[in-house]
């Protein structure tokens, strides 16, 4: 099996999920300069709702694709409703408050949503019922599964759709105008409240689909899954340049790739017994082909945050980010 190609495929899969989640962070940030830390929880609830529906329908005679689709279609409006409520209840009243206040509210909403999920679904992970057979295809010595293909295609489709919406439609122009200067946009008759609410709703809708994809890929959904996923997607958004849509897409995919390649190779690279001259200083511990691995693939999560730190140190505005725009 070709490890490089295999890890690239795996990285593209998780990376495209990160990218879709990152879009939710970056859209909201672009318009109101708020990090919506509750976004990860919205994604989690999307997965939970979809899993509940899928589990409920799993016993019926309906075709599996239809069941999964029903789960996704149920998750999207629920998440959109949560996204809208978050903006109305938690952020709009604080629109003109100092920036720290909505940030703390965002963290608070994240905790609240997590515990609502805990109350509804309990502390045990929900398992994805075995209803679809997941065919595996061989390309160049690596395996790619049907689910992986579906995730990558669907993510690309959503990214393309969002780009079209933001760059080609009138409402998209209004979103970009509000992001650049909310006061002048108001003078042009753009209702900032509607635009801001729309970014939350759209981001949450994308997040719902991302949550289902992520849960399906790993086979489980859990009430804490939004935390790490959200943090990684946020890192991806910062990596690409927060507030920048193409940046979130590039950042997400890049983060997925780095993470997959990192966890794929770190075991080999830190296997001291494979280092030159190991026998002399490792002695007995490497005898008979034994391994001595310092960092295993369980260090996967380190790469995302290591990359975030490097970007913040060397290029704080992100890969595609511009200098912080001058605001009137």
């Amino acid at each position: 099996m070709d490890i490089l190609l295999q890890q690239i495929i795996n990285g593209l899969t998780t990376g495209s999920v990160y990218a879709v989640v990152a879009l939710g962070y970056t859209m909201v940030y672009g318009v109101i300069q708020l990090i919506n830390f509750a976004h990860g929880e919205v994604v989690m609830i999307g997965a939970m709702v979809a899993f509940t529906i899928i589990t409920a329908l799993a016993g019926t005679a309906m075709p599996p694709t239809f069941i999964v689709l029903a789960g996704v279609l149920a998750a999207i409006p629920v998440c959109m409703g949560i996204g809208y409520s978050l903006e109305r209840i938690a952020y709009r009243p604080l629109r003109h408050a100092p920036r720290l206040a909505p940030l703390i509210t965002a963290i608070g909403m994240s905790i609240i949503l997590q515990h609502i999920a805990l109350l509804i679904w309990g502390r045990n992970p929900l398992a994805f019922p075995q209803i679809i057979d997941n065919p595996s295809f061989n390309i160049g010595g690596a395996a790619i599964s049907g689910v992986q293909i579906a995730i990558i295609m669907l993510s690309l489709l959503m990214m393309g759709g969002l780009s079209w919406f933001v760059y080609r439609t009138r409402f998209g122009i209004a979103i970009r105008a509000t992001a650049e200067n909310v006061h002048v946009a108001g003078l042009m008759g753009i209702n900032a409240d509607r635009v801001i609410a729309a970014t939350f709703v759209i981001g949450a809708g994308l997040g719902a689909v991302a949550g289902v994809m992520f849960g399906t890929y790993y086979g489980i959904a859990h009430y804490t899954m939004g935390f790490t996923l959200g943090l990684k997607a946020f890192s991806a958004a910062v990596l690409g340049g927060i507030g920048n849509l193409p940046g979130a897409m590039v950042g997400g995919i890049l983060l997925g790739l780095v993470e997959a390649l990192g966890s794929g190779y770190i075991g080999d690279l830190t296997n001291l017994c494979h280092w030159p001259g190991a026998t002399s200083w490792m002695g007995e511990r490497c005898a008979n082909g034994a391994d001595f691995v310092v960092f295993g693939s369980n260090y996967q999560d380190v790469f995302a945050f290591l990359m975030l730190i490097l970007v913040l140190v060397f290029r704080p505005s992100g890969l595609l980010g511009e200098r912080v725009s001058e605001r009137a």
Binding site: A177, E180, H183, V184, G186, M188, G189
Partner: protein, 256 residues
């Protein structure tokens, strides 16, 4: 149409202990070019910001076509028919020229999220109409060839023109220009003057704040002078120019 297009009555505005505007009243007639001049800090831009809903006022009222104007938010003022440009140009820099103008059409059209997503036939037709109108306006102000350049890549004079085109896109009855000639060279100023006269000839009323007294005196039908937040004169340019108070405000009191 009434004889008076816009009437401001006893407008007041305080910033903390500073009385920026005190009982300012003025009347702007339909299809005139009305100049507002005054020394630095006299309150010209403050008055502008009150008119366009950017600042809440502390007293007085504004009537547009005899009806009280709601100054609650920039969005309602735009809908009522007042459009403005800014002293320091405020375009959407990362959008193209034509997109900037299309944004201006927002106030006259309804664009919903779902219409945009579904992209219905009605939505497509409206979008096409908006694009056509935006092209016309760019042509009108003379920058049709720069339609697809990013606003920040335009020359300074073209940015001023683009800002005017964007304001015109809101179909205003009163166009308020805040120091449009600031930073322009002589050629650009002449072209600007022709543009403003053209706007008036096409039926628009123009409120002009300007530092360039020569431009104001040559272009405006009537002129008001502000000093320390109060109106000290309002009349045709010849009369205002001869007003001793105005001369004093601009040249100081050494003559006395």
């Amino acid at each position: 149409m009434s004889e008076v297009l816009l009437e401001a009555r006893n407008i007041g505005k305080r910033f903390g202990g500073v009385q920026a505007l005190k009982d300012v009243s003025l009347t702007i007639r339909p299809r005139e070019i009305y100049g507002l001049i005054g020394p630095n800090g006299a309150g010209k831009t403050t008055l502008f910001n009150v008119f366009t809903g950017l600042y809440p006022r502390d007293g007085g009222e504004v009537l547009l076509n005899g009806k009280p104007l709601s100054l609650e938010s920039p969005h309602t003022v735009a809908a009522a028919g007042i459009a403005r440009t800014f002293q320091n140009i405020r375009l959407f820099n990362n959008m193209t020229a034509i997109e900037n103008v299309m944004v201006g059409r927002h106030v006259r059209t309804k664009a919903g999220v779902f219409g945009a997503i579904l992209h219905t036939r009605a939505e497509r037709a409206e979008e096409a109409a908006i694009r056509r109108r935006a092209e016309e306006l760019l042509h009108y102000v003379g920058i049709a060839d720069r339609a697809h350049s990013l606003a920040r890549h335009l020359s300074y004079g073209d940015q001023r023109r683009l800002e005017i085109a964007r304001a015109l896109a809101t179909d205003p009855i009163l166009l308020a220009l805040d120091e449009p000639a600031a930073g322009m060279n002589a050629t650009e100023t002449v072209a600007l003057r022709a543009l403003i006269e053209g706007l008036r000839n096409d039926g628009l009323t123009v409120l002009l704040i300007e530092h360039d007294v020569k431009l104001v005196m040559g272009l405006c039908d009537r002129v008001a002078v502000l000093e320390y937040g109060q109106k000290i004169a309002e009349d045709v340019p010849e009369v205002v120019r001869a007003n001793p108070k105005v001369i004093e405000a601009y040249l100081g009191t050494s003559a006395h």
